[in-house]
Amino acid sequence: MQALFDDVGLVIALTGVLAAASAALLGSVLVVRGQAMLTDAVSHGVVFGIAATYLLTGAVSGPVQLLGAAAAGVLTVVLTQWLAASGRVRRDAATGLVFPALFAAGVVILSLFARDVHVDAHTVLLGEIGFVWLDQVPFLGLEVPRSTLVLAGVLLLDAAYVLAFWDRLVASSFDPLHAKLRGLRPGGVSLGLLVLMAVTAVAALDAVGVVLFVAFAIVPAVAARLLAGSMGGVAVMAVAAASAAAVAGYPLAVALDVSIGGTMALLTAVPLAAAAAWRLARARS
């Protein structure tokens, strides 16, 4: 068993699959809801949370960082929606104003105060999936990479949430008013989804960084949306497409000697292109 976790290639591929699958699972719900750009806002806002938590507590990993960063991710969305609701800025401009501001603040804090820590601006942007195996923690008598373990836990949490609240998620996605009248609390399930998105973004940051996380959350879900007719179908296909891209991305990146995270994210274009071609061909016939 330990031999599995000593195989660097296997650990990197596994970490990629876990990050891609958890992003794609939550992303598929947001894509169906037409709120895909929330992913972008949350993942950038998380960086501010990481910087602020470091500044206040000195934490560079662990539950304190996770909580602080997730809170900032949620705060980004709340601020955006509040600004848009104030009527002074339209929604797209509010989005384009709030998350870059918080992200910029986070990067400035990290550049000024955290120069010697591994959470530098470059890592949060691009991730370091090639180095995740360096940081190992004991788990059930095995030495397991911390990032892989955290991502596995987060994926389980995401899956449990989505399965447990499936009916409510579907109802609040398609008919929030009806869901509210039936007492399904669409606001509550949506907030839970947002919190999990933020937690997932923090967990995936070490591996793939802010922007590639957005690619994993949105691109496979868009591909799945072109093919599947139900929300369940979209979720399952998105997770499958994202995982396949991560699995194929590792050996390809090694063979070409290029960025592993980037290649994994770029390969999500393959299912998207296939799905788009299928749809266009069907439209013509």
Binding site: A101, A104, L125, I218, V219, V222, S259, G262
Partner: protein, 281 residues
């Protein structure tokens, strides 16, 4: 401390003013036409173009890299448009997919270039967060030409662009080709994004397009007023941020510029009379 006019500082300052003016002013149309997120897509998707331009030119030449950025930025916009219009993907998802894929391609190309032997490629990484100190005197000429062309074109066709933005139906009835003006404004948005990449970087450039326009919108009473006020705000923010970052080694320019612009936009939203009063009334 007496302020010495170091030629490097003068170059950096002039570059920052030119780019802040251009992207700030052109951001007016982006914000009014609800294309803020499209700007974000274009700036992220400019990364593969920057690296591609470097690969084609063989050295770090700004015109080649900015031309490449323009091509890939517009290609990402076309991808988002195709997903949305031809395949009926919701607009946010279409934009997000184009942004993610464009940036992923950029990351892969960047890592490829960086692993090639030879110098020069190391500096490419500054295009992520921007580096004001990297501005050369020759870059200023490029910036000046682009700024003059864009602002000049907008000034000449201001009436038409105003009509196409606020009342496309009437514009069409008057015999104007609204599609042409739409395309031109999307092209100008791409230029507004691309022109600042060296100073502000691909990750945050769109904020320098959006924030000054949002600030100007709170005070301006006309489109022309908003246009020039956004330009002035952009120039002031870019100048402040560039000088602060140039004076503090290790601090990338983009985040500082965007932080300054965001604070200005936030203050304008708090104290601005125009939109606020009308919204409350």
């Amino acid at each position: 401390m007496p302020l010495e006019l170091d030629p490097t500082v003068v170059t950096v300052a002039a570059g920052a003013v030119l780019l802040g003016l251009t992207s700030g002013a052109l951001g007016t149309f982006a914000v009014l036409r609800r294309q803020s997120l499209l700007g974000d897509v274009m700036s992220h998707a400019a990364l593969p173009g920057v690296v591609g331009g470097y690969l084609v030119a063989g050295t770090r030449t700004l015109p080649a890299m900015l031309a490449g950025a323009l091509v890939t930025g517009l290609a990402a916009a076309a991808l988002a448009w195709t997903l949305h219009r031809r395949l009926r993907v919701k607009s946010e998802a279409a934009l997000g997919a184009a942004l993610g894929l464009g940036f992923a391609l950029g990351v892969v190309l960047l890592s490829y270039v960086q692993r090639q032997p030879g110098a020069g490629s190391a500096g490419l990484e500054t295009f992520l967060f921007g580096q004001a100190a990297a501005t050369l005197r020759s870059d200023l000429v490029v910036l000046m030409v682009v700024a003059a062309l864009c602002l000049g074109a907008v000034t000449i066709f201001f009436g038409e662009l105003e009509l196409a933005t606020f009342d496309p139906t009437y514009a069409r009835a008057r015999g104007h080709s609204v599609e042409l003006y739409d395309a031109a404004l999307t092209g100008l948005l791409a230029v507004a994004v691309v022109i600042g990449l060296q100073l502000v970087g691909v990750v945050l450039m769109s904020a320098l397009v959006v924030a000054p326009a949002v600030a100007a919108r709170q005070f301006a009473r006309s489109l022309r007023g908003m246009f020039w006020l956004a330009g002035g705000t952009g120039a002031a923010c870019a100048l402040t941020g560039a000088l602060v970052s140039a004076a503090s080694p290790g601090l990338a320019t983009g985040p500082v510029v965007v932080l300054v612009a965001s604070v200005v936009a936030g203050l304008a939203l708090l104290v601005g009379p125009e939109r606020g009063r009308s919204a409350e009334a």
